[in-house]
């Protein structure tokens, strides 16, 4: 009896389970018509303890100064600025009619309050950019409100490039009532942007709603949900399943998946050069690559165009340290000459071969085709007498090895914190610069030091730009670090969404709208 009954019961149970499973998910009409569901690889709202609460790419808060189309500074919450003759005092005028999400009008006192908080909490950690008054505003002596819409900033030395330094995160403005005694946010962030944050479930999703009293062009859609999906394959699957209609943030769609999605008529790709550059950092000091000729040989031996192909064309080759999106960037000719590279290397190595250790960070592998890139470099350097061993390290180990100098080459990126390159120049091109120490670069050249000092002392912006150009040329010759490519951020969105484009930093979520 048991022999005959049990199989039937099991079959019935299995069928019942299948029927239950087979019922398709009822499409949420509300989500399709009103909510625009996007996804990002990380939580774009780290929350109350973060320096900014949310990333700038969500358009909740706004900076005083924003990136312009050429990467230079343009006023966002400001209507204008004026520099004193000695470049130590700046007067800023706020845009009139700006309203906070809580209904208050933006005033100069609010801006002063924001800066007082920056001073209080510096350095404040953030996964976007650290908030640090001494790095963003070195030599700031005072900031004062002059009237409802005017405030001044005074410095102990000339700051002719101050607006460049204030771009984006550096001049994020928040409502002073939004902070507790420790300088942390006391509630959901209050900004002035076209979207307001209405809810946030950490590491899961956040919800934005259009701020109807926004001073500028209103957001293109009423409600946006941004889900956190860390895995790139899952993000691509969510797009194909039409659970989400777009992606955002750095590394939102790795080149391989982006190229695959591009073959699907339902999706559109949009790419824009970012402020991030790719480098082959060189361990300097007394290391084997301290000889400039070897660094030059490596640079000439590398076929950057071939590496770009690994990125499916979503990067541009460069020989310049400074990112192409910086307004002070100059063109530096690319040289790929394997024969000349071999001759130059032979001057140093003679008939010997040299073992080289190339380290790559695990976090980079998740975002870029670093493994293939490292193997390609290994292949390209073999003919000039360099035998490269590749080592993959996780973030912490990678940082420790880099700082110790126990490596020869490393794949690295650099993002520009603002539009004035003097900070990164000094970080890399002086022996005690922060990035020089962090990467054990150890580069030092009296000519470079003199140029850096001259740049800092120069009050005229055009003349300073000329010095910046000289610095770039010298760096391209001496190669304290070997530039490879300017990065491009790729976003993918459904064709039902219009007006969503990638910019230097983030996408135009504010203008994204439903096609119909």
């Amino acid at each position: 009896m048991f022999n005959t009954i049990l199989p039937h019961r099991l079959t019935a149970a299995a069928l019942a389970a299948l029927v239950a499973l087979a019922a398709p998910i009822a499409p949420d009409a509300n989500a399709q018509t009103r909510e625009m569901v996007m996804a990002a690889p990380r939580d774009l709202a780290p929350g109350a303890e973060d320096a900014y609460y949310v990333s700038s790419i969500l358009y909740v808060w706004e900076p005083l100064v924003q990136f312009g189309p050429d990467g230079g500074p343009v006023p966002q919450l400001l209507s204008g600025w004026e520099m004193s003759e000695d470049a130590t005092r700046w007067t800023f005028t706020l845009r009139d009619g700006v309203t906070w999400h809580n209904g208050d009008a933006l005033t100069a006192e609010h801006v002063v309050g924001t800066f007082e908080r920056i001073i209080q909490v510096s350095p404040k950690r953030s996964p976007f950019y650290s908030m640090h008054i001494d790095r963003a505003y070195p030599g700031l002596v005072a900031i004062e409100a002059q009237d409802a819409l005017t405030f001044t900033m005074e410095f102990d030395s000339p700051r002719p490039t101050l607006p460049h330094q204030m771009v984006n995160f550096s001049s994020a403005v928040f409502h002073p009532d939004n902070f507790d005694a420790d300088g942390n946010f006391n509630d959901l962030v209050i900004g002035t942007g076209p979207f307001r944050l209405v809810s946030h479930t950490p590491d899961q999703e956040l919800v934005l709603e259009r701020f109807e009293e926004y001073w500028g062009t209103p957001a293109g859609t009423e409600r946006v949900v941004v889900r956190t999906i860390p895995d790139a394959d899952t993000r691509a699957a969510a797009l194909r399943a039409e659970e989400i209609v777009g992606v955002m943030d750095l590394g939102a769609m790795p080149p391989e998946q982006a190229a695959s999605l591009a073959e699907d008529d339902r999706f559109e790709l949009n790419a824009h050069p970012s402020s991030i550059s790719h480098f082959l950092h060189v361990s300097g000091g007394d290391g084997p690559l301290s000889d400039m000729r070897l660094r030059q040989a490596i640079s000439m031996a590398i076929d950057r165009e071939a590496i770009v192909q690994l990125y499916r064309g979503f990067t541009t080759p460069t020989a310049n340290f400074l990112n192409v999106n910086n307004p002070f960037h100059i063109d530096v000719p690319l040289v790929h000459d394997p024969e000349a590279a071999a001759d130059l290397a032979a001057e140093v190595l003679g008939a010997e071969r040299m073992d080289i250790r190339l380290i790559i960070p695990s976090w980079g592998v998740a975002r870029y085709p670093y493994r293939a890139q490292a193997e390609l470099i290994q292949f390209m350097l073999q003919p000039i007498g360099l035998d490269v061993t590749i080592q993959l390290l996780d973030r912490a180990a990678f940082n420790e090895v880099r700082q110790s100098g126990d490596y020869d080459l490393s794949l690295s990126t650099l993002g520009l914190p603002n539009a004035d390159p003097i900070t990164v120049f000094r970080d890399y091109f002086t022996r005690d610069g922060a990035m020089s120490v962090r990467n054990a670069i150890g580069y030092e050249n009296p000519d470079m030091t003199a140029l850096l000092e001259a740049a800092l002392a120069e009050r005229d912006l055009d003349l300073r730009a000329g010095i910046y150009a000289d610095i770039q040329r010298l760096a391209a010759t001496e190669l304290p670090t070997i530039p490879l490519m300017n990065d491009t951020t790729v976003i993918v969105h459904h064709v039902d969404v219009v007006g969503y484009r990638q910019t230097i930093y983030g996408g135009t979520l504010n203008t994204a709208a439903w096609a119909d």
């Binding site: 998910i25 350095p123 950690r125 899961q204 956190t228 860390p230 895995d231 912490a396 940082n399």
Partner: protein, 314 residues
């Protein structure tokens, strides 16, 4: 019974103490400076050595290691696992927030594993050497061999991307739990299939089963009551141990399916060298293993008269 539980609890104490020591030591010997890491979260920041030194002081990392350990242990005993070096948020609160999600996932996986593995394994044992038995053994082997991440991606491809029966990722409804629970349950389901098949075979060969059949008891009663009674103890032991193991397995599943559970938190903590998070996770996992093994032992103690007798003798 109470004495047995008490004795097991006393034995668990040094295990947990050892876990705290290992958790703390792992954080210390692992390469990487968490103070520097905290200041360089974006990967683009360039803190000075003075700023890193100040951060080390702020985080208490400049104190002697024994002092750090005792301080950490003291806080742990009060339920305070410290503050994340990266997010500045309480680790205990994060665990509390994420634990229900991971437990729901683990429980779903456990239920699925039992529903799939136990009946099929028992049926395979009952109808040993039949076609179904042979096919079942192949399936069990396949389930044990398939990597979890691959299975996860395949299930997403089929059930979410192509058929659109289930969501690809995230939380929200019971449907969100099906695919991750299925992935997480496969190994255990396969193990249960093999184990329950073996215990069924062994039980059916027992003299008490022959006696039961000779007494004219219904076949279903013979199998479900007499045969399974003897098989309960090894099955409970395996299932109890599995619940601890599932936490480790949930790490990959939570990342792929975008489930903000403890596994995902641990991965982030490990990548960032976020000591308090790593230490909290190791200790938490150890505690779960201890608790569930203890629960399994107690359950075996209850269902197995021989164990009870042994305990009295001891």
């Amino acid at each position: 019974m109470a004495a047995y539980v008490l004795r097991r609890l006393l034995l668990a104490a040094p295990v947990l103490f050892g876990a705290t020591l290992i958790a703390f030591t792992l954080g210390v010997v692992a390469p990487g400076d968490p103070a520097a890491g905290a200041l360089m979260q974006s990967g683009f920041d360039a803190p000075t050595q003075a700023e890193i030194a100040a951060m080390r002081t702020e985080l208490g990392l400049d104190r002697p290691l024994p002092v750090q350990y005792v301080s950490w242990l003291g806080n742990v005993l009060t339920g305070d696992f410290g503050t994340s070096i990266y997010t500045d948020r309480s680790v205990s609160e994060e665990f509390a927030r994420r634990l229900p999600t991971t437990l729901a996932l683990a429980a779903s996986a456990l239920v699925l594993a039992i529903l799939i593995g136990l009946p099929s394994g028992l049926a395979m044992g009952y109808w040993a050497q039949s076609f179904g038995d042979r096919a079942g053994r192949v399936v069990a082997l396949a389930l044990l061999s398939v990597p979890g991440f691959w299975l996860a991606l395949m299930l997403i491809l089929v059930f979410a991307e192509t058929l659109r029966w289930l969501p690809t990722s995230g939380l929200g409804s019971w449907r969100h739990m099906i695919l991750p629970a299925l992935v997480l349950s496969t190994g255990m389901a396969a193990l249960l299939m093999r184990l329950s098949r073996a215990v069924m075979l062994e039980a059916l060969a027992g003299a008490h089963i022959t006696a039961a059949r000779a007494r004219g008891l219904a076949e279903i009663r013979v199998v479900l009551i007499h045969a399974l009674k003897g098989a309960a103890a090894p099955l409970i032991t395996v299932i109890g141990g599995y619940f601890g193991a599932i936490l480790g397995g949930s790490v990959i599943v939570e990342v792929i399916f975008a489930i903000p559970g403890i596994g995902q938190y641990a991965v982030e903590g490990i990548f960032r060298r976020d000591y308090p998070v790593i230490q909290g996770y190791v200790l938490f996992t150890a505690a779960v293993y201890v608790v569930f093994n203890l629960a399994a032992d107690v359950a075996c103690f209850v269902v197995n008269p021989q164990l009870r007798l042994g305990a009295r003798v001891a």
